[in-house]
Symmetry: C2
Subunit: 615 residues, 2 copies
């Protein structure tokens, strides 16, 4: 395509963006119009992509970080023949594929869900890491960013990571249209301001007029030939470019054009240009996934082993058995024990330093390329990445997250290091699986099981050593639980998980000595929860006591209730959880102060069997 044809294509993308938004009665046409040339040139001359085979291993990868410019993306799909005219006009309709913000759950050409700004570039870094260090099929990763989203810290986590890893297969294209949602950005059209920042972080920078197709073409070529560092193209553009009534004007973000027909006429009318994107080179995945025999670590019953240790050892074993397992760390691998994997499989270990958003985003990017990531940090610090976890669930990304140092039982370090909200956060994540083992053999088995699940999988590990209570041959299906004590005369069921299982067992022994038989359930699968066993226990023992090293909202207590919300009668129920703000203290003191140790369980159990009001 020559200059005139590229310009025509750009006008078509504008017109189609306006038409789609007009048909929907909502959407972001002006944010699409600023980047029309950027996308036209990319599609026609640089993006090597087979739209019929989105899984082609040689395909370049494109991420729309400014996800609200979806009309532009769908117009590109139409120009490439991937969708037709009719579908374009189903934009934002119920049950359609063309959502307000693109998601891979609906469209095979979308790598990751966007719409929360500042996430596309970090995920693009993950894909580029896969390309550079693992897949090695030579694909490039192109990310179209908005200028507003450069205010997000996650962009600079990505910038740091990409430059440090010399990701010269990554190009960020920034559509500097000067206007955010409510008004001008901090830096307006000052491209130098952005260039200084990216250059300082180690990127190659190019500044261009984003409406000059030849300049855009040259910039892409320069990016392709730059070695050893990622490139950012800073493109000066106008929001709403090409239509006088909206061009470069405030107050029009996220609004269809008032008079679409007039605007389309001003842009030269509807066109039907079809573009064949450059074809990807023949390529074959190098990671023909080796699947050998899985040797998990085995622990002796009665030994004292921290579940975080079992996690690290099991992950290392899993990595040996499966060539598609990768691990990511937030600069705490000595604490989470991901270091065991790092030592055995350094080629598949990714150090993300203290940047939890990039940690999760890199996992999402690696998963998009077919790898099976385990990303671990302290459970507390996964809260840093909650928006990324939320968006990963919209993507349907298959990632494993592992949070160590759960609960008050970590001891002296105090509340800033304690994961006390992680179960609530992870349970509320759509389609998630939440696992919380209490011993080393159980942990090892669950680490292996996680690899085969869908969606977001979360494993919660503990800092301190706990006794091994299960044999290495025991199985732990997701959605199951273990009844650790039971008799026909049980008057109470204690439901626990992780550290509190051991406290519950001690409490049950104490109550037994008083003549109160207690059932104990190890609820290692917090989501999905074992409704059948819980309901059976409730029917047989009459009342339930849950105990957890977590805030009372959203954790194990709420998970248990989930078994009873079907309109049938519910059991009597009491919940023990962390209700105060802990300080520094020994692990034993912490459990006691929080009222979740054996003594507290026994005390609450006594009241409950006596039908006293417990609160």
């Amino acid at each position: 395509m020559n200059t005139r044809q590229l310009t025509e294509l750009a006008q078509q993308l504008r017109v189609d963006s306006i038409r789609a938004s007009a048909a929907a009665g909502s959407g972001h046409p002006t944010s699409s119009m600023s980047a029309a040339e950027l996308m036209a040139v990319l599609l026609a001359r640089h993006l090597r992509y087979d739209f019929d085979r989105p899984q082609h291993p040689g395909n370049d990868r494109f991420v729309l970080s400014k996800g609200h410019a979806s009309p532009l993306l769908y117009s590109v799909y139409k120009a490439a023949g991937a969708i037709n005219e009719t579908e374009l006009l189903t934009f934002r309709r119920l049950a359609g594929r063309l959502e307000g913000h693109p998601t891979p759950q609906r469209l095979p050409w979308v790598e990751t869900a966007t719409g929360s700004l500042g996430q596309g570039l970090p995920v693009g870094v993950g894909i580029a890491l896969a390309g550079k260090r693992l897949d090695r099929t030579g694909y490039r990763v192109w990310v179209l960013c908005g200028d507003s989203e450069l205010a997000e810290g996650s962009i600079w986590e990505a910038a740091e990571h990409a430059a440090y890893e010399h990701l010269d297969n990554l190009t960020a294209i920034v559509d500097v249209n000067r206007l955010g949602q409510r008004g001008p950005t901090r830096h307006g059209h000052d491209l130098d301001a952005y260039a200084r920042r990216f250059a300082a972080f180690g990127w190659h920078t190019i500044e261009i007029d984003g409406h000059d197709v030849d300049a855009v073409d040259r910039a892409y070529g320069e990016a392709e030939s730059t070695r050893g560092q990622p490139t950012v193209i800073l493109a000066r553009t106008l929001k709403g470019k090409g239509v006088e009534s909206v061009q470069d004007r405030e107050g029009l973000h996220g609004k269809p054009l008032k008079d679409a027909d007039e605007a389309i006429a001003e842009l030269g009318g509807v066109r039907d240009i079809h573009v064949e994107a450059p074809q990807p080179p023949a390529a074959r995945m190098l990671h023909a996934v080796r699947t050998g025999h899985l040797e998990l670590p085995r622990y002796e019953i009665g030994d004292e082993v921290a579940t975080r240790n079992a996690y690290g050892q099991a992950l290392a074993g899993l990595g040996t058995a499966r060539g598609d397992i990768v691990a990511l760390d937030g600069e705490v691998s000595d604490s989470t024990r991901a270091e065991f994997f790092a030592k055995e499989h350094p080629d598949r270990f990714f150090e993300c330093y203290i940047a939890e958003q990039q940690l999760v985003a890199a996992a999402v990017g690696l998963a998009a390329r077919g790898w099976v990531p385990y990303a671990s940090t302290f459970a507390a610090f996964l809260t840093r990445a909650y928006d990324f976890i939320r968006m990963a669930s919209i993507s349907g990304a298959g990632i494993n997250l592992v949070g160590s140092h759960a609960g008050v039982s970590i001891g002296q370090d105090g509340p800033s290091q304690m994961g006390l909200e992680d179960l609530a956060m992870m349970r509320a994540t759509h389609g998630s699986t939440v696992l919380y083992p209490c011993d080393a053999n159980q942990t090892a088995k669950l680490v292996g099981t996680m690899a085969g699940l869908h969606g977001i999988r979360y494993l919660r590990t503990s800092r301190g050593e706990t006794p091994v209570i299960y044999s290495p041959t025991e199985e732990f299906p997701v959605g199951g639980s273990k009844v650790l004590r039971a008799s026909d005369t049980d008057r109470l069921t204690v439901v626990a998980a992780g550290i509190t299982v051991h406290e519950a067992l001690k409490a049950a022994e104490a109550l037994d000595r008083e003549g109160i038989q207690v059932r104990v359930i190890d609820l290692y699968s917090v989501k999905p929860v074992d409704r059948r066993t819980l309901r059976e226990a409730a029917e047989q023992t009459g009342c339930l006591l849950t105990v957890e090293d977590h805030r009372e909202e959203g954790g194990i207590g709420d998970a248990v209730l989930d078994a009873f919300l079907d309109g049938r009668p519910m059991p009597r129920l009491v919940r023990l959880a962390v209700r105060t703000m802990p300080g520094s203290a020994t692990p034993e003191e912490q459990l006691r102060e929080a009222g979740i140790d054996a003594q507290a369980i026994a005390a609450a159990g006594r009241l409950l069997v006596e039908h006293a009001v417990v609160r």
Copy 2:
């Protein structure tokens, strides 16, 4: 103090850090030792601070962003005479004040809780904003950062914000000791790498040897005299400086020294130097808080008004009545309606652009200086700041967070923009208050009430218009609820909040026509929850149906259950919530697809009164 005395003081701080950690048997002495000169010089010659009067309006403010270096901070307090020798050795003990990571809940000289890295500088920016734009008593803000934490994106949100606001009252001191927790940082001792980044963001940069007290002193002086931009001092240091066996060595993070006595001898023994910090200048708060009559907006019953609009209008009115109210925006004030406040009170409005971590951190910083902040963005995007919200609760910070665009009912924009996990996240936050109004008058009243509460207050608003159902004179106490329909023959109670209140009322009317009387409760106070009214309704109607525009985990359904977890018999209960992944659709279609509209409520209600299993 002269050079020799400063050096001696630094050695004392090292020795005391080692002693405190040895007494505790845990802690981070080596991370403390690297910054001993940086703190000695600050305390003795630059920090204008009256330890007897931490609330003195002229006091400089110090934030330990690398919160794990708490032994150093406490050693400084001892040198300043704020704590004594005996207390120093209670480090990390149960019920002591000297926690593993410092918190203002325990110690009056701590501005904000730290321990999650990358948060001290953003909060420091908030304090500096208060100093520069509101308090104007001339205080400086000093923040001691670690080098590892510069990998956190939040640091760069802070860097951007501080430079843009010309915060020349802010100095970041970076203790570049080269070593993170598990090994070397990305940039090691390459001070230039950090300087390039900060300079690109608009900071004045100074590079020094952090163990040369004269160089440190000169750098602080240069920071004090720099106008128009914040200063960062990049100090080359050695972790564990001064003790050969640990100095500049890996694998020793967060560990007490093996032989403390030997190390102390190597450092010249225990000292007892007392330092008088420079006194703050006489100062008076300029914001003598005006408290006038609160004129809240009033809406006519039957009018259609979005609760987000009522939020903006009420906040503007609150700002007129009270001079201590400030508002912060994440570049969506036209959507959240914080723009109404911005127009009337531009001097107390803070635009944080698209940087939600900095948005919440700035609110925490402003609250630390006595201001009453309302920070608003989309509910979905508050997930970006969950770690900051978590840490704010550890600080005991009094901040108001407002999340708009709650739930699937936003319509076409799709799931990336829908707050569906926000209630779970905010309920699990310690000491939080969670409010979710359904009409404009209720919203206005709650906006006013929030200002007087403690801890983290969260208000959830909706995008679409909803009918006004309450009179402007109605009161809505926190912890209360409103029974909107009730009779002696009610067979079911529907509990709703926000948008679903209106669906519940429609469903109740439909069921009434079928001869099924239904009670409807508006649970506007989601936390704390109105236990008495819920229990009464359960006793009188036998069963409860909750319905919410939120994920089923951690929201209104779980909040309702909280009323029944005291060991007494529980009602039959069914929960309606968003269980699928929504796409784009109209608001009405979204409610229908999610199964939380009037029809779904009526259908579930019918089953429940017929004692059918609903799930």
